[in-house]
Symmetry: C2
Subunit: 237 residues, 2 copies
């Protein structure tokens, strides 16, 4: 999964960004990092930011020109925040992710330019498409590894399909269990005279709505029944 | 826009993450950062990573407990990657963004725990909802400021509605301009005998498809006409 995607960093100045990029990749299931003329690699700074990602840094390829980085690549996607005057095929980030998901067997490279100046004109000419991550008009300076993180996140999100809620495995209470709780609770409130003949209809409704909103699970119903029982013991004649 | 959203960092250990968070916020149009018991703030490390975001750091509030951070907050959303056993209202990231966009007048806080351990049990109890950013099952260690970046990116993306392609303002060639180019080009290829009576139909079709795929603009059509003209001059008797 996503093993056909390469992240290519071009002329990266700050070694910390290489470490952060490795982490941004691994946490979203990507493994292939290629560096073209990094200012410094390997480095302690990259290592210290790539917590738990030494495997990614170890397999990272370093090459001295962009053609070597892309020799097996079939689709090259450049990330660029600058407006370009030429008639270049530009994709939105969503279109870019769709294109990638429709080509699971193609070798695809995502190119990220130098921190200061982005992709050079020569680097642009190798790109089949350009993508611009949307940013706030008054401050467009997205950090390099943050841009990679957004891209890998969108890729991973698409790859897993609809996101499932994590950890919600406990049993919800059944209607029968909840009905028993409601009857016990309303009995109690009738005994305490909080519920009277006059208000029983409206209060019963409100109490049902309140507890139904809580999405009670079995444990919670048992806790509520325990509370009612403990109160009943105190108020019984 | 998005001015009702606060980012709350709880017990942050690495000052660099505070600087990166400020940048992750500003680039997506957020301004309100609150730090609860940061290990170190202000700091040179935060400043150096918050390139161009001194305004965000200057207005950042520092408080010594979570209640002070949330005193005006109406909806508290905790970010957590751990599975929780209790029946907590859990939202997917898309549901979280929808909830926020449906409440533009509510004061909303997004809480991010300490780098090592995330949100504590006590911090969880203040949250109305929990959100988990999806990550790769074999390595779930999303960097703190990367998590903030994904959240602010999703918020910003939603806030601007459908993303428009940047920079595509040049004029595409009209059908008339393209038709003239095609006729000139086919004339040329007939002269060079690349097109013959036999293949004219299939080649004409292929040539139209090839150039139509390029989405030619007016300049490009003029360049092609110039090329044809220069060749015509050389091959004319």
């Amino acid at each position: 999964m996503l093993s056909n995607i390469n992240i290519i960093l071009l002329g990266t100045s700050h070694p910390g960004n290489i470490g952060s990029t490795a982490r941004a990749m691994k946490v979203m299931g990507l493994r292939n990092l290629i560096l073209v003329n990094p200012k410094q690699f390997p480095s302690n700074e990259a290592n210290s930011l790539a917590v738990g990602c030494q495997d990614i840094l170890k397999r990272t390829k370093v090459v001295d020109n962009i053609s070597k980085a892309l020799k097996s690549s079939e689709i090259n996607i450049g990330f660029s925040s600058r407006k370009r005057k030429v008639n270049f095929p530009i994709l939105t980030i969503d279109e870019c992710i769709d294109l990638i998901s429709q080509n699971p067997n193609k070798n695809i490279s995502a190119l990220f330019g130098n921190e200061q100046s982005g992709l050079s004109n020569q680097e642009l000419l190798i790109c089949d498409y350009l993508v611009s991550i949307p940013t706030f008009k008054e401050y467009k300076s997205l950090n390099l590894s943050a841009a990679v993180q957004i891209f890998t996140y969108e890729l991973f999100k698409k790859s897993i399909g609809e996101i499932k809620r994590p950890g919600n495995t406990h049993k919800l209470a059944t209607t029968k269990e909840k009905s028993y709780f409601f009857s016990q609770f309303i009995n109690l409130l009738t005994k305490t005279k909080f519920i009277t003949e006059k208000n029983t209809k409206s209060l019963t409704k409100k109490i049902h709505i309140l507890f139904n909103k809580a999405g009670l699970d079995r444990d919670e119903v048992n806790i509520l029944l325990g509370i009612i029982s403990s109160i009943n013991k105190k108020i019984k004649k």
